[in-house]
Structures are given as structure tokens and as C-alpha cells.
């Protein structure tokens, strides 16, 4: 389990639209620099979408953990 302090959890398991990454982008827009967001997603596409956007937008992917049927993505708003 992660020891990172999570500021907001976005549980989008089973949600196809608007999609896990869209929800993360929405949360990051509203968040403060330094805040940490956790996304719980069962969508296979998240494994490529989320790391790719985090890199493009220059935020920080802290951790990715696989659970049964879904993954945890922990992202820090870096700027």
C-alpha cells in the first residue's frame, strides 16, 4: 500500500464516459500545486492514457499499483 498522503480520491471504476483521465484532468484543474490525487480505474486504457497525459502536462506520476480488477494511479500536481 502507498504511504503517500492522498488529498483526493477519484473512484471511476466502471465509468466509461467521460473517462478516468478526464476526471483526473478536471480534478487537477481545480487543485492546488503539491496536492496528490488518487485515481481508481478499471479501464485498461488508463494504463497508457494517464501516464502519457501526466508526462505531457508535466505533473508527477508518483505510483501505479494494480489491485484486483482495477489500478490505483497516484499523481501529484507539480505546477
Amino acid at each position: 500500500m502507498s504511504t503517500v498522503q492522498i488529498d483526493k480520491t477519484i473512484d471511476v471504476r466502471g465509468m466509461a464516459c467521460p473517462g478516468p483521465l478526464m476526471n483526473l484532468i478536471g480534478a487537477i484543474r481545480q487543485g492546488q500545486v503539491g496536492q496528490v490525487f488518487e485515481v481508481l480505474s478499471s479501464d485498461e486504457g488508463s494504463k497508457t492514457d494517464i501516464p502519457a497525459w501526466v508526462a505531457k502536462a508535466k505533473h508527477e506520476l508518483v505510483e501505479v499499483n494494480q489491485d484486483s480488477g482495477y489500478a490505483h494511479f497516484i499523481v501529484r500536481k507539480a505546477r
Binding site: I10, D11, V12, G14, M15, A16, C17, P18, G19, L21, M22, N23, I25, G26, I28, R29, Q30, G45, D49, A52, W53, K56, A57, K58
Partner: protein, 378 residues
């Protein structure tokens, strides 16, 4: 004495719930709808108003024409909910009591949250759609940029549909060759759902519509005519169309019933408020991370109506809960469309775009008034 069921908002969700509760409660409930204008607006039609294919008057009807006779309508704006006294104060100063309260107030657009975007166009309000069509009529060529300035927003397929309809419009006017259409997507593909993107992207390429991925609009410079993204890129435009940021209604925020953006936290299956008893929410109003659309409000409404009816009758909660069902159409231009259907347990599927889906959407838009608000379509 009949229980007071109070419904805030006369949109799709509020109207269906009002009619179903009045019908199913067999006199156990008196239902009142509070709506700011008393006019029911079919919002999916804004897209067509923006390209001159629909008249605003065809998208509006008096709310009373859609409600059963035994449902009361109060034309006023809800100002504050008191969850202890179980009352709702209206802007006129009037106070209404409730035993069960449905929040169906929807979302509002807040373009002024985007620095510099005050004059950007949109098709998310009737006024915005009318103004956009006026601008398009005067457009003689150049670059039209369509971007997304906030998440979540109503009707996720709408920006993609708009660029296809815009392409049709510019071709019909004979100015397509003098125009560039650029779609800025928040994701690294055209649409949130990958399977649908795979259908749509080749059509975008075929029509010469330029797609730029990972461009979440952050600021606009209306003098230099540039738009910049959260990801750090900038693009020029001659005409800018933005999906504005959305948030919940002020009454939700002022009453402490929602999160920091005014979305109401509910259980994703029962639609019951997670913190307050006797309060339910449907449609755009909720914080469920699912598409904000009339389709979701429609499918949620029967669940909320059954739950409220059971409460007023003192019966056990119904087993029927919301399963995340969404069904919507996506116009791909040139008279064709596809559909998108899924629920919490079944991933989305979209058929190959065809004329029949375009006609199905057109038929649904026309028959809506006689079927959906009355709860006649399951």
C-alpha cells in the same frame, strides 16, 4: 395527509420524476416542481441551432404542458435548502416544506472562469448557440478552433458532433476550402471512449478536420487571437468556440449540499444523498463521474421516482437501482451518425456510422416531447 415531494428543476430528470411519483404514489404524495423559468428546454438541440439547422422556438415548451395535472409548478428560483427544518427558501421569499426533496437543478456554464475567454463562442446555452450561428453567418474563411475549457461538461460527444456539422455547414456555403477546422481534444484522441474514437478519427481525417490531442484550454488572448493549454501549448484562431467550464447551481453551493464545484454527492446506484436523509439527485446535478447528459438523467429518473414513491408509502426501498446506463447518438456529418451505449458493467459499443442512426436521432429529437418527460420511455 399526502407527503410533500418537492422537485427543484424542471429539466429532463425533474420532469420525469415529478410525473412518475405523482402517477405511482396513488395519492400518497403531493408533487411540486420549482423551476426558474417555467419553460422546458430541449438542450441537445443547441448543437443544431448553432449551425442554423434548428429554430430556438422548436426547443422550448411550457413546463405545464409536460407535467401531469396533479403536479404543481412554482416558477421561482430556489435560494437555500434547510435540511433541518426540511424547507426550501425561494428567491421571492416564499418558503416551501418538503418530506422528500429531489435536486434536479442541473449544471450552469461559467465561461468567465477562463481568463480572456469572455467573448469566446459556445453552444452550451441557447443564447450562446444563437450568437455562434450569427458569427458563422458572417464568417468568410479562416481558422475555427474548437476546444474544451473545463471538465466535466454536458454531452461529451458534442464537440466532435459540432466539428462534423460545422464541416457540413462550411461546405454548403462553399467556403470550406478557405477554412480550417481545428479540434482541440483534452485527451490524446478525438473522444473519451477509445472504440468510438477509432470510428471517428478516420472520418475527421477524411473531412480535413485537424485534431490536436492533450490540449486542455486554460487561457485565451482575444487581442492576439490565441488560445493556450494547461499542457503549455498555444494556437492561433480567427473564430474560437469553447466548451465552457460547468459547475452545479448556486443553491446547491449556498446550501452546503454539494462538493467544491457544486456537484451533489450521491450513491451511484440509489441516487440518494450520501450525507442527508430524504434528499435525492439526478442528472447533471450529481457528482457521479459519468457523462452529464439528458440520457443519464432519463435513465436515473425512474430509479429516483421509485425510491421516493417507496419512501412516501413507507415501503422497503426498491431493488431496481441505477446501473450506469447511457445511450446517446453521435452525429458524424453528411447525414450519418453512430450510437454509444454502455453501463457500469458493460463497456461502450458503437456501430459503424450510418444514415439510419442520424434519422433515429432526428426522430428522437422530434418525439421527445411526447415520450420522455412523461416517463413513457423506460
Amino acid at each position: 395527509m399526502a407527503a410533500e415531494v418537492l422537485i427543484l428543476g424542471g429539466g429532463v430528470g425533474g420532469t420525469i420524476v415529478a410525473n412518475l411519483v405523482a402517477k405511482k404514489s396513488s395519492g400518497w404524495a403531493h408533487v411540486t416542481v420549482v423551476d426558474a423559468t417555467g419553460i422546458h428546454v430541449y438542450q441537445p438541440g443547441f448543437l443544431y441551432v448553432a449551425v442554423g439547422k434548428e429554430q430556438p422556438s422548436a426547443l422550448q415548451r411550457p413546463e405545464t404542458s409536460l407535467l401531469r395535472d396533479d403536479v404543481s409548478l412554482v416558477v421561482d428560483r430556489a435560494a437555500r435548502v434547510d435540511t433541518v427544518a426540511r424547507t426550501v427558501q425561494l428567491e421571492s421569499g416564499r418558503t416551501l416544506p418538503y418530506d422528500q426533496l429531489l435536486l434536479a437543478t442541473g449544471s450552469r456554464t461559467v465561461m468567465d472562469e477562463v481568463p480572456g475567454a469572455k467573448d469566446a463562442h459556445d453552444f452550451y446555452t441557447m443564447d450562446g448557440a444563437v450568437r455562434l450561428f450569427e458569427a458563422l453567418k458572417g464568417f468568410q474563411g479562416g481558422t475555427i478552433v474548437i476546444g474544451v475549457a473545463g471538465i466535466p461538461y454536458k454531452c461529451p460527444p458534442a464537440p466532435v458532433e459540432f466539428v462534423f456539422l460545422l464541416d457540413d455547414y462550411l461546405r454548403a456555403r462553399g467556403i470550406r476550402e478557405k477554412s480550417q477546422i481545428k479540434l482541440l481534444s483534452p485527451l490524446n484522441r478525438a473522444f473519451t471512449i477509445e472504440a468510438t474514437s477509432k470510428l471517428v478519427q478516420p472520418i475527421l481525417a477524411e473531412r480535413g478536420i485537424e485534431l490536436t490531442g492533450f490540449f486542455n484550454v486554460e487561457t485565451v488572448d482575444s487581442v492576439a487571437k490565441t488560445v493556450s493549454s494547461l499542457e503549455g501549448e498555444t494556437m492561433d484562431y480567427d473564430l474560437l468556440v469553447l466548451v465552457p467550464p460547468h459547475r452545479g447551481q448556486k443553491v446547491i453551493e449556498d446550501s452546503g449540499l454539494g462538493d467544491e464545484r457544486g456537484w451533489v454527492p450521491v450513491d451511484k446506484n440509489t441516487l440518494k444523498h450520501t450525507k442527508f436523509e430524504h434528499i435525492w439527485a439526478v442528472g447533471d446535478t450529481t457528482n457521479i463521474p459519468i457523462s452529464k447528459s439528458g440520457s443519464v438523467a432519463h435513465y436515473e429518473a425512474s430509479v429516483a421516482a421509485d425510491a421516493i414513491t417507496a419512501e412516501v408509502k413507507g415501503e422497503a426501498p426498491p431493488k431496481h437501482t441505477y446501473d450506469g446506463k447511457v445511450m446517446c447518438f453521435l452525429e458524424t456529418g453528411q447525414g450519418q451518425a453512430t450510437t454509444i451505449q454502455f453501463d457500469y458493467d458493460h463497456p461502450p459499443v458503437s456501430p459503424t456510422p450510418a444514415r439510419r442512426w442520424h434519422w433515429a436521432k432526428a426522430l428522437f429529437n422530434k418525439t421527445y416531447w411526447h415520450t420522455v418527460p412523461q416517463g413513457r420511455l423506460p
